[in-house]
Symmetry: C2
Subunit: 482 residues, 2 copies
C-alpha cells in the first residue's frame, strides 16, 4: 500500500469538516505532458502575438520602415536576376553570389549609412585585393617552401594592424566597416590565391560584382522614398528643442497650478528625457550624414558637426529641467500665498524662455536667420531679471514678519502645515530653488542660441524675408537699461 | 605689357621706404606643383603621424586591445591552414572560404559579443538553409515556368519580413545579426539552388565550415586573455560610482576652498561627465553579457539588467552634480562669512554621502553585502538634516540684521562687493542652492543604494565576513531620533 502510494503522486485537500479529498490527475502521464505542452504553446503564442502587435505599432508609427523593408526585398529580387537570366550568369557565374551578399550587407535604413558602407566596401575591397595580389606575386618568386610562410605572416600582420585601427576613434567613425572588409578580402585573396591560378580574373570579377551590388543599392535607396540621415538629424534636433520647450512649460505650469495634475501635462513634462537619451542617435546620424550627397536644402559639406554641439547644449538645458522636475515632486512646497506671489513672474520668465526656444525651432526648420531672436533673448533676460528682483525685494524684515504672522495665525486656526517651518528661509527655500533654476535654464538657453547662430553662420542661412529688419541693439544693453 | 602682367600672377610687397619688390615664384609651373605636392605630403605625413601617435596611446592605455588584435591574427592564421593543408582542402574545397569569412566577421572584442554573433550565425544559417531547401523542393515540383517566380517571391517576402523584424527593439537587442545572416543565407541558397544540383551537399559543407569557424573563434576568444563583457560592465559601473564620488568631493571642496583652483581638483570634478555619457556603452555590454557562460564570479543568469538600473540611478545623481558644478562657476557667490559658517556642515554632508558611495563601490567590487551600509546611509541623512537645520536657524531677524550690519560696514570700509546685494535673501541664495542640491543628491544616492541592494538580492551576494553584525535598526528611525 505504502509502495503504491509513493509510486503515485497525489494532491490531497484537507477539508475543514475532517474528511479529505484526493485530487485525481486528468489522465496520467500523457495528460500531464499535454497540459504542459498546452501551457508552453500558450506562452509561445502569447509572446509571438506581443511581438507582432509591437511590430504593427512600429509600422503604423513610421511607415517609412515598412517601405525600407520593401526596398530591401526589391533590391534582392533585382540582384537575383543575375542568376535567373542565363546570359548574365554565363558572364559572372558563381561570383554573382558576391552581388547578393553585397546587397544584403550594405543596404541600410538611411542613405548616408548605405553610402558609407558602399564606399567603404568598394575602396577596401580594391585596396585589399591589390595588396593581396602584390604579396602573392612576391611570395610566388620566393619558392614553394617560403610561399605559405610569407602568406601566413602577411595575413597575421595586416589582419592585426587593420583590427587595431578599428580602435582608433577617428578611424572607427569613418572606416570601421572598411577595415573589416579589408581584412576579409585580404585573407580571402591571399589564401585562395594559393589554389586559384586566375587571380587577376577572379579579382576583376569580384570587384565588378561588388560594383553592381553597391550601385544597385545606391540606386534603390536614393530613388525610392529615400531616408536621409541628415534630414533625420535635422528633425531630431528641432523636435528635441520643441520637447524641451514643452517640458519647461509643463514643469512650470505643474508647479504653479492650483488643481490636481493633468495626464496630458505629465506626458508633456517627460519630453526632456528624450533629449537626455538622444546622444548616441545624434552621433551616428551625424557620422552617416557626412557621406550623403547634396539633397534638398542640405549641401554635401553641410556643418553636421554643429548639430552635435546644438544637441549637447540642449542636453545641458535638459539637466536643469530634470532638477526642476524633481522640485515639483519634492515634499516641501512653498506656502500658497508666496507661490501666488511668484506665479506670474515665473510663468512670464518661462514663457519668454519658451519663446526663445520656439524661435530657434523656426530658425532651424526654415533654415533662415531669425530677425527677432535678439529681441526675444532680451525679453527672456529681462523677465528673468524681474523674477530675481522679485525675490530680492521679497524678504525684507517687514514682509517676513507679516507673512509669518498671517500664516501662523492661519495655521493655528486650521491646524495645517506652515507651523512646521516657522522660520522664513524654509518657506522661501523651494521658491528660491525654482527661481535659481529658471535663471540657470535661461543662461543655458543662451548657450543653445549661440550654437544655433553658429550653425546659421556655418551653413550660411539666409535672413528671413517676412521678418522685421534686424535690430542691432545688443541684448545686454537692453537688459542693463531696464 | 598689361596682357603680360595679367597672364602672370605676381606677389608684390610694398616696402615702407617707397620701393616695391616682386616675389618671383621658385621656377614656374613645375616649381608650384612641387611646392603644392610637398605641402600635401606634409599634411598627409602629419595626419598619419597623429593617427599613429593616437594608436600608440590607445595601445599603452589598454594593452588588451593589442592582445585582441594578435588574437584575430592568430585565428585567421589557424583558419588559413585549411587552405594550406592539402587533405583538409580536398574535403572542404572552395567552401573553406566560409570559415575564413566567419572568423573575420564573428570575432569581436568581448567574449559575449563573439558568442552572440556565433550563436546567431549558426542558428540563422541553419534555419535559413532548411527553409531555402524546403522552398526549393516545392518550387521544383511546380515546373520550370513557375520555379523562378516562386523563388523570387519567397526571397522578396522573407527578406522584407526579416528586415522588418530588425526594427523591433526586443529582436534587435538579441537577434539583429541573426536576422541579417538569415536574409543572406536564404537568398544565397534559394538563388544558387537554381543552378547547383547538390544542394544538400552544399548546405552540409557550408554549415560545417561555419561551425569550424565559430568554434575556432570561441576557443581563441575564451582561452587567450578573454575580455568578458560582464566583467567590463561590472568595472564600468563601480568605476562610474567612484568617479561620481570624486566629482562630488571635488565640487564641494572647490566651492568652499579659500585659495585658487588646483588643476588636479578640476580634473577630478569632471568625472561625472563620464557617468552622463556611458548609457550606450552600458546597454551594449549588458546585451552581450547575457550570452556569456559562467565565468569567474558571474553565473550564466547573473542579473545584468540590474546593472542598467544602477547606471540609471548613477546618471540621476550625475544630473544633480552637473547643476552643483554650475553653481561653482556662478558669478554670484555667498559672502565669505556665510560660506565659512556653512563650510563645515556642507563638507560633512558631502563626505558622508561620499562614504555611502564608497561603501557601495566596495559592495560591488567584493560582491558581498555590506554590513554597515545602513549605518552609513543614516549618517548621511543625519548630516544632511544638520545642514538643513543650520540653514533653518540662520536667518532669524537678529542674525540677518547683525550680518548685514557687519558686512555693510566692511563693504563701506573696503569698497568691496556685498553692498551690491543689500537684502539678506540674495546673500543666502547661492548657499541655499548648494544646500538644496546636497539634499537632492543625498536623496538620489538613496536611489543608488536601493538599486545596489536589489542587485545584491538578485545576485545573491553573501554577507561580508569581516564586518560587524548587520544592524537591524531602520535608517529612518535613527534619523528621526536625533
Amino acid at each position: 500500500m505504502a509502495k503504491k502510494a509513493s509510486s503515485r503522486l497525489e494532491w490531497r485537500i484537507n477539508v475543514p469538516d475532517g474528511t479529505s479529498k484526493v485530487l485525481e490527475p486528468e489522465s496520467g502521464v500523457v495528460g500531464k505532458i499535454w497540459v504542459g505542452l498546452k501551457g508552453c504553446m500558450g506562452i509561445i503564442v502569447l509572446k509571438v502575438w506581443r511581438v507582432l502587435e509591437n511590430a504593427w505599432h512600429i509600422g503604423v508609427a513610421d511607415p517609412r520602415k515598412v517601405i525600407h523593408c520593401i526596398k530591401v526585398g526589391l533590391a534582392l529580387s533585382i540582384v537575383s536576376l543575375f542568376y535567373y537570366m542565363r546570359p548574365l550568369y554565363d558572364d559572372f557565374g558563381g561570383n554573382a553570389m558576391w552581388a547578393v551578399m553585397t546587397v544584403v550587407v550594405v543596404f541600410e535604413y538611411t542613405v548616408g549609412a548605405t553610402f558609407y558602407k558602399c564606399i567603404n566596401r568598394v575602396i577596401a575591397t580594391f585596396l585589399a585585393g591589390a595588396l593581396g595580389v602584390g604579396i602573392h606575386l612576391v611570395a610566388e618568386q620566393s619558392g614553394d617552401q617560403l610561399k605559405p610562410i610569407i602568406l601566413g605572416i602577411s595575413v597575421f600582420l595586416f589582419a592585426s594592424a587593420a583590427t587595431f585601427s578599428r580602435f582608433i576613434p577617428s578611424v572607427k567613425a569613418r572606416f570601421d566597416y572598411g577595415a573589416m572588409i579589408f581584412i576579409l578580402t585580404f585573407s580571402l585573396v591571399s589564401v585562395s590565391g594559393y589554389r586559384v591560378v586566375e587571380l587577376f580574373e577572379l579579382a576583376h570579377l569580384r570587384l565588378s560584382t561588388i560594383a553592381i551590388g553597391t550601385s544597385l543599392c545606391i540606386l534603390v535607396t536614393t530613388l525610392f522614398c529615400p531616408v536621409w540621415a541628415g534630414c533625420e538629424l535635422h528633425h531630431l534636433i528641432h523636435q528635441n528643442m520643441e520637447k524641451l520647450a514643452d517640458s519647461l512649460d509643463g514643469c512650470v505650469t505643474e508647479y504653479f497650478k492650483e488643481n490636481g495634475s493633468e495626464k496630458d501635462l505629465n506626458k508633456k513634462m517627460q519630453g526632456y528625457k528624450c533629449v537626455l537619451n538622444s546622444k548616441a542617435a545624434e552621433e551616428s546620424m551625424a557620422n552617416f550624414a557626412r557621406w550623403e550627397p547634396t539633397h534638398g536644402r542640405f549641401n554635401f559639406r553641410h556643418p553636421w558637426k554643429q548639430y552635435l554641439k546644438i544637441g549637447a547644449s540642449l542636453r545641458n538645458c535638459a539637466y536643469c529641467i530634470e532638477t526642476l522636475n524633481s522640485c515639483i515632486s519634492s515634499e516641501i512646497q512653498a506656502p500658497p500665498c508666496l507661490r501666488k506671489h511668484f506665479s506670474n513672474k515665473c510663468m512670464k520668465a518661462s514663457s519668454y524662455s519658451i519663446n526663445v526656444l520656439k524661435e530657434l525651432v523656426i530658425t532651424i526648420v526654415k533654415m533662415k536667420k531669425s530677425s527677432n531672436i535678439d529681441v526675444k533673448v532680451a525679453e527672456m533676460n529681462f523677465a528673468v531679471e524681474e523674477l530675481v528682483d522679485a525675490l530680492k525685494s521679497l524678504p525684507t524684515t517687514h514682509f517676513i514678519a507679516t507673512t509669518t504672522g498671517e500664516e501662523s495665525t492661519k495655521a493655528k486656526a486650521e491646524g495645517v502645515e506652515g507651523s512646521e517651518h516657522p522660520n522664513p528661509i524654509m518657506k522661501v527655500l523651494p521658491l528660491v530653488k525654482v527661481v535659481s533654476l529658471m535663471v540657470e535654464i535661461a543662461t543655458r538657453i543662451g548657450g543653445v542660441v549661440n550654437a544655433v547662430e553658429e550653425l546659421a553662420r556655418l551653413a550660411e542661412f539666409k535672413a528671413a524675408k517676412d521678418g522685421k529688419p534686424k535690430q542691432n541693439q545688443p541684448t545686454d544693453k537692453l537688459v542693463a537699461d531696464h
